[in-house]
């Protein structure tokens, strides 16, 4: 299949269709509105349902209903809208319902602004709603990777019966890049669902519910969920290691910030400097062991630089990976400002021996 030049948001919409998504519920918000705009045109063409909800709260609970009925479904929003979905996300995870949620992150807190940010990292990776639940979180760094991760998101949602978040910043939604859709046809409907509410005639009835008043029963339930998250941590970690194998400075960054850092790293490597990038693709589960291995391969005194479009959120995971063996330096901007390749290069340069 040949490449087409597409806006990130529209490419994500098309990727969802190809993954077999049939229901979309959502509410417009910049910088992701092209996703619902695209899907409201495309979903009816493939016999699906597009529904603009009255709010993000309603949208996520419509996802809860559709997922409970065993249908491949999704929603998308941007930061403030994702906050409104917190309750529903907790219920979806509690009831082990597969779904995909896109967060095209914008600057916060509060209403913030519409420019790109990575400031919802805590929200995405540390629960966001109440209770001991987790989402699998995927962070693309290009339009092509966004498309590829969308397919993976639906697969993982089904494999783990859990919400999966695709977490990008507004830049990826708004930019155009060439993309190739690797699947020609449409993905299969949700498979093997022996739990979905499909009408109980001729079989025992099923219940989708997250109320477990007996503490022992609720604890056992939590243990089972934890085992599932631990399994995902063993099997689903994804990352990219780029540059020198024994760097004097290791940059850790994700999404757009990783790409910008790559430009800085390329410039410095052309000067003969030893620099590398560690890019988590799964923000949860986080590639702790792999990042630690990259750190352990560094010479003594080498530095680690965490770069984010936030005031410093992923840096806590980088510190967990280091387990106190290294000091982690930080470069970040928030509010819609983005550190430039030159700024990243200057900071790396200052850390080089």
């Amino acid at each position: 299949m040949s490449k087409v030049l597409m806006k990130g948001n529209e490419a994500l919409g098309e990727a969802a269709i190809r993954a077999g998504c049939v229901h979309f519920f959502g509410y417009p918000i910049t910088p992701q509105t092209e996703i619902p705009e695209y899907l409201c045109k495309r979903l009816p063409e493939v016999g699906g349902v597009f529904l603009q909800a009255e709010s993000e709260v309603a949208a996520i609970h419509m996802v809860y209903g559709a997922a409970g009925a065993g249908v491949k479904c999704m929603t998308s929003s941007s930061s403030p809208g994702i906050s409104l979905m917190a309750e529903g996300m907790s219920y979806l995870a509690a009831c082990e319902l597969p779904c995909v949620v896109i967060n095209m992150m914008r600057a916060g807190p509060g209403l913030g602004g519409i420019l790109p940010a990575q400031s919802d990292y805590f929200q995405a990776t540390r629960g966001h709603g109440h209770g001991d639940y987790q989402c699998i979180v995927l962070a693309p760094a290009s339009v092509q990777e966004a498309v590829d991760l969308m397919t993976l998101a639906f697969d993982l949602a089904e494999k783990y019966r859990n919400p999966v978040m695709v977490c990008a910043d507004g830049m990826i939604g708004q930019m155009m890049e060439p993309v190739e859709f690797r699947s020609e046809g449409r993905g299969p409907p949700m498979a093997g669902n022996d739990w979905a509410l499909t009408g109980c005639e001729g079989r025992p009835r099923r219940i989708v519910n997250s109320l477990h008043l007996a503490p022992e029963q609720n604890f056992a339930y939590n243990v089972r969920l934890k085992e599932k998250y631990d399994r995902a941590a063993r099997e689903e970690v994804r990352f990219e290691l780029y540059g020198d194998g024994r760097p004097d400075v290791l940059v850790v960054a994700f999404g757009t910030m990783a790409r910008i850092s790559k430009s800085a790293i390329d410039d410095l490597r052309r000067e003969g400097r030893r620099v590398a990038l560690f890019r988590p693709i799964t923000l949860n589960p986080w590639p702790y062991a792999q990042c630690r291995a990259a750190m352990d391969a560094m010479p003594e005194g080498a530095k680690v630089l965490d770069v984010e479009m936030s005031m410093g959120q992923m840096i806590y995971d980088v510190k967990l990976a280091a387990e106190g063996t290294r000091t982690i330096e930080f470069l970040g901007k928030a509010g819609g400002l983005v550190p430039s390749p030159d700024e990243v290069a200057a900071r790396i340069r200052a850390l080089l021996p």
Partner: protein
Amino acid sequence: MKATNVLMAGFGGQGMLLAGKVLAQAAMAKGLQVSWLPSYGPEMRGGTANVIVCISRDPIASPLVTRPDVLLAMNLPSLDRFERSVVPGGTIVVNGTLVAREASRADCRVVRVDSRALAQAAGNERAANFVMLGAYVGATGVLPEEAVEEAIADEFRDGKEKHIDTNLAAFRAGAAAGRRAAAASEVHA
């Protein structure tokens, strides 16, 4: 070819984002890597809009560029804001229709084009964006002109075919002006 980063800036509605998309499409059709990153801030009608198009043989690292190789300045605010950011030896295309002053970069190739007059002569005043694109392509030869012409024609398919000819004519007029400007500057050198 050398990797090229092009910043195209003007008032919202002047069509610089569209001209950038056409440039990216043409480069992609030639087998090159491209990215198209628009400014999408809270702009108002009459405000500024710009787009960065990166063209490269290799995968594009950062789509965000603060030191472009090329600036297409459709209006004075764009020239004022971005002129200093162009790399030494770069190219600046100035819309002479709206920008009264000269560009102040002696270390860059400057191409000045009366985009509105050329667009009007081509039969479509609104095609000034493609005059500017033509001037850039003509002056630098960044891509074969036919590749861009094909991308322009593709852009106006699906019911907008009546605009193809005038936009193509505007692009060609700009390209001719760009080639003349490049030849003249070589004489000076």
